[in-house]
Symmetry: D2
Subunit: 447 residues, 4 copies
């Protein structure tokens, strides 16, 4: 997963990009970067958090009226500085900068073909393929070049592009897998993966970029172009289940409301005779509020999260593994002792964390631990940008719900149904649910 942002203004927006990236930091903590321009494109990027990579000096060097930014959580391509974005290159029109959120499914074959024609790749990320295709198909019209490139690339891609022609371009793939929104602050344009960036910068949300749309911004004017072939919209539902912040609203569906509703429906579908509802922090809070609402079982904080355990944390050895779990999430003994607990989490991927938490709660005195998951079992890998493991590592891909229950040692276990998921959202919300049922909107095999 990644987060992208672009701003088109008449004054310096380097610090706005910096704050904007802060607001998207939950979408990627591995690397980040900013490219800006007045006349010439300049950039700065590095490994680590926005607060680690940028300082007053680097931001000062980045002053400019137009700019794009990127936070990266590695999906395809390895974890290396040269894979950080935005990508900046020089082609016949001058310099171009591009930031990409998503995952192509036909990257390998495209790369092979381009190499056949004598091209050299400097990174291992999909985004370089997109950049090359745009450069290759550019004659005199950038929009045409983008459209032509879109004919070849298959998969999930939300893009922000900037050229030394002082234009900012936002592109969303025909399925609309990844979010991309447009906001305005006076006469400035802000494009971002989540509306929080627009909120914090004091702008107003305008609309979602449509699937297949190419939005061109220049000289204070916006123009929309569209990719010719239409696809059914299929927003990634994991944005709502787990990935986006609670304050995000994507394709008109608010994330927090979706999560609370999922908890309520889950309580209706799979009630539980218990004393308290406790969330797995932080992602389980909204669902737990919903579950408690509907079930009338009181909501309590039963696991205290340590806010300081991050990337640079020295991993515990085998012997110290239990220390690691409790260091991250320590059970609140006074709350759980002697209680029948409903534990609410948003999803189960490998099952290892669930197992440790249940064990931890029992050791703290919980009488029973019933696990309720606010999404269906994840059985299929994602090819569109969510970093799910291969099928053999997905616990639900290889085990029945009963088997999972045994493995993680829960007293009971239940998942929200696919139908319950649909009811949690507004009526016309079309989403990709391939990770649950294997119906991929774009076939990842043939290409």
């Amino acid at each position: 997963m990644c987060g992208i942002i672009g701003i088109h203004s008449k004054q310096d927006i380097s610090k706005d990009l910096y704050y904007g990236l802060f607001s998207l930091q939950h979408r990627g903590q591995e690397s980040c970067g900013i490219a800006t321009m007045n006349e010439k494109i300049k950039q700065y990027k590095g490994m680590g958090l926005v607060s680690d990579v940028f300082n007053a000096n680097t931001l000062n060097e980045l002053q400019g009226n137009i700019g794009i930014g990127h936070v990266r959580y590695s999906t395809a391509g390895g974890s290396n500085e040269f894979n950080s974005q935005p990508l900046v290159g020089s082609f016949k029109k001058g310099k171009i900068a591009l930031a990409h959120n998503g995952n192509l499914i036909n990257k390998s074959i495209l790369k092979e073909r381009l190499e056949d024609e004598g091209l050299i790749f400097h990174t291992t990320i999909d985004s370089e393929v997109i950049l090359y295709l745009i450069a290759r198909y550019y004659k005199k019209n950038l929009i045409e070049a983008i459209k032509k490139a879109m004919k070849f690339i298959k998969g999930a891609y939300s893009l922000v592009i900037m050229t030394e022609d002082k234009e900012l371009i936002a592109v969303r793939d025909p399925n609309g897998f990844r979010p991309l929104l447009l906001g305005k602050r006076d006469d400035e344009f802000i494009v971002s993966s989540e509306n929080v960036s627009i909120d914090i910068l004091g702008g107003d949300f305008v609309r979602d970029i449509a699937p297949g749309e190419i939005l061109h911004i220049k000289d204070g004017k916006e123009t929309s172009y569209f990719y010719d072939e239409k696809e059914e919209k299929s927003t990634c539902i994991f944005e709502h289940i787990y990935f986006s912040r609670n304050d995000a609203t994507i394709d008109c569906q608010n994330v927090y409301e979706f999560r609370v509703k999922s908890g309520e429906i889950l309580a209706k579908e799979f009630p539980c005779d218990a004393d308290i509802v406790i969330p797995v922090p932080d992602s389980g809070w909204a669902g737990a509020i919903g579950y408690s609402n509907y079930s009338k079982i009181p909501l309590k904080e039963g696991l205290v999260k340590n806010r300081y355990v991050g990337r640079t944390f020295i991993k515990p050895t085998q012997r110290e593994r239990e220390i690691g779990v409790r260091l991250k999430l320590n059970p609140l003994k006074e709350v759980v002792e002697g209680k029948r607990v409903v534990l609410i989490d948003d999803s189960i991927v490998r099952g290892t964390t669930s197992k440790k938490l249940i064990d931890s709660l029992r050791k703290a005195g919980a009488k029973e631990v019933h696990l309720r998951i606010t999404s269906p079992p994840v059985k299929y890998s994602c090819y569109f940008g969510i970093d799910t493991p291969r099928r053999r590592n997905l616990i639900a891909s290889n085990n029945s719900i009963d088997e999972i229950k045994s493995v993680i040692k829960a007293d009971s276990l239940a998942f929200l149904s696919i139908d319950g998921l649909k009811q949690s959202s507004i009526k016309d919300f079309k989403f990709c649910k391939a990770c649950f049922d294997g119906n991929y909107p774009v076939d990842p095999v043939i290409l």
Copy 2:
């Protein structure tokens, strides 16, 4: 405020100290340090978070069976590396290391006297005074030297001390202002500011160190000594209101239960005709759960906290100030729009944050914002280790509740009563409430 930890074992505990400091990180983010020993005391400390200061190499150098650690949030003494702890010095008995949580009220006069006698101070922190007094009164018996030092130092101090005699000593001042607990893991002793350290290391909580107690641990044996002059116990109530983690239990009173109960009593004392209860994250959650429980007004997440805005964040300029507020706490528009909101926070000090949050909620569409505080108005400065500002900056010291309401532009405002505070805790819980009523357990003026 600070956090301290000490471990006495027969095997290497350097990594346990590291994880232990992680669990106390919320008590101080300015600097941290560890001192350990087998035969000789060695140490490492630095400015910043535990994850910034220590790495695999530095920990490897710190291998030892006995050790103490410290996280510092500057109170008295400036923000400098030489003020970080543990303090390590060499006196006639060999090397000694000391870590201190608290604040002396007669530091200046003691320092003056010691300088008169030819002493030189290397730091500007209270703790060096304590170290000097112990060294000066040491003849052949360290416990006697500590007792004699305790005759002179007035104020709040929880200490862990280690000498090259392979002993670990824990001291809590006669009032017991700051917490200090004893735990055991098999035959190892763990002393810490909060029980979370004992929990995560897989130990069992044994008991609170008593006010006035000097606990001596050596050769696997513990011996308790006591300071002669008795004082009334007066645990700092701000540990429960704000400072400690929800999973802390100090002097038998659990923090989370105290906070939920405060919220319930507040709802009873000051009900409110509103649509939703929303907490100021993270400290307002427990109180908000309590308020919602009692009032039956549904609990919602209405402010989304950014987990990545920390110390190294480049501060917004005047013009960007609003960006800064929303970047930290962004209102969840879908939740608050058109709603009458009860906003729950744990305390008001200067009032500036409350004002900004209320403004922010209104801009997001809240119809009414009623602020409820789960503690009484803070009218008096703390001299015992809580970093409250001087009285002239305490909004409640200079304004009536009605005036505060006007300043922060709330539709209504209410604080928990002192009596409500008492009811929130177990019966025999004696605490210092000087910040609310000015009755200081130790007179800060005369000394």
Copy 3:
């Protein structure tokens, strides 16, 4: 200027590359990098000295049997991390790594053409053009692709190239502007800009790579190919005057012997009635020894060099400028006081340093200061890799020797003649002397 090295072995040579780069550090201090491989190419590079960029960890990650390295002193292209080398890219044959010493004169036009065809450039250095041309002309034979690329690139280039076919390729341009040597250590091949790398690694010098040669090393075998069009050899004479270390021997001409001889001939051509000969350290020592030998005027150390003033030094302000000069080179008062001094330097470019040194010597009491330069006046800019300024900044381009003497306030001034330069070297040593007479071996204007 830059330095390059390549090693082809059957065992790990990562540390050999590291030491090799140390031995070439004088050729470039701005950035450095290493790429190695067993099966897959990996790399690490950064801004700064070899000792700053690499540590035990990074070297450990670079283990491999084949590898190339680069130290960079920026000539063309700006001072940025993305301009550091080796360049690593992925083309149809797999990954390729390239390190380049030299300067193309037709880079701009080649870049323009490649961009016309849809290519994107990621750096601003010449070397990327070379890499692209090789990739583009590669069908099935890399040597053919290199030959074809050589048809298009004009200027100075010594290259080391490595592919995932386990081959190491060394290329020297048809004029042989920049040095490149072959050495062997048992059955390992070492290619380097200077023989010191081969010396320190315990190898034996084999021969210079010939101008126009493409040396291919694979499976323990070396094969030489040659570019078709022959050019007259024209080794850059500044390697001998200033750039290379004293222990370098390039195209059979040892640098130290050349410098001592230059000093001797200079003493013959331009004798001087003086008391002592003192060198400008460090580059003037060999010439000063020569001058003293021939003239019988005793050699003394009269300027003491500070070994610690480097890149990170905080530059003195206008007021402190004199401090800066003396900090770098402090006159040895006891030596120069009351003496008539012959000051020996290797070259004059802008004249500013000479002026400051002469002033500094006078202030220390020198009675007379006669400047003797062991090379002819530099009147023309270099287009082949030496970082001389544009003509308008070359003092000798715009002033007669007499005028220079006045500007720098010397009592007398003389330069070695071009004929003296020739006599300083072995008979068949063909070099480029365009910076003195403007006769460029490859015309920098037409292309």
Copy 4:
């Protein structure tokens, strides 16, 4: 060894101290620090070179009119940040800062006594003992306190001291082991270990601080006080042999002239039938010039030094050891091949370097290698600040000259005589030569 500097001015001298420390960097590369003041003393110090520790920001924070600085090469006390200087403490007169060059011989016993009286030491360096004694004996007169402290401390010490009374004090021990000089720049006072600091700052050398002198500077006035008990002057001769820069003049004896003269007398005492004289760079140059002068054997550069191999260099493993030697000093084959070489070095301590260099020269083709040392054999450890190893590691302490010759595999070996050493210096130059003959000016055993 260490270097110290102090400046007393009416304007900001923070950058002067910075440049001054640069000029003393050869005296210590482990750590460095600066303390300055207008009203209040502030400081900054750290591990590493001056260029690593200070930057524009840290210097900016250090603005002040009076200041002292220190570079440290650890002698006594371990290599730790808390051992870096200046030491700053707060005593009854306010803050005091002290920087120390030298070594006390009775540190242990003094430390023990002070600890008996209840003192605590924060560092493991001698200098803290001095600071404590001054504080302890201070009543109302700092000079008296210093004099009293001098009664107790035995050994080598040059000190600069600064207090918040706006005074700068320079002290040199009664034997004058370590250098300390006074200079003036207009109405500013500069005190430094070597005159190069005064030179580069544009000041004029005034005089050496006398052995036993306490120089007090305040309000633009200097006053000299003297320690009561007189000792014979005994300047450390290793300052002249090896430690100081060539441009240093200590107690009226210039270092460069001394070194050249030593080389000449050595050539007279121990002539050699050889083809060339080559120095071990950098310290052997002056002696080699002297040897060549007298013997008429031509001087050549035969070993090329790598200027970039420093502290952070990754040490070669056993197998790579030879790489390490040649990396530092590579023989210049063209110079030494087939030649009978006289190799000149300043001293032999352990003999390991000599052995490696001789081996290296032979491998490069030298026919004979005759080693000549410009000082007598070092047979006794130094207790006064030179970091010589214990006697068992001094090769000349345990072996005859003939045995050393065999160990290092030289064709012949000779050392300058003690008498020759005396002749190398001006007539009335009294120096400590205990390392050669064991006659310690202050008895290191009794105390």
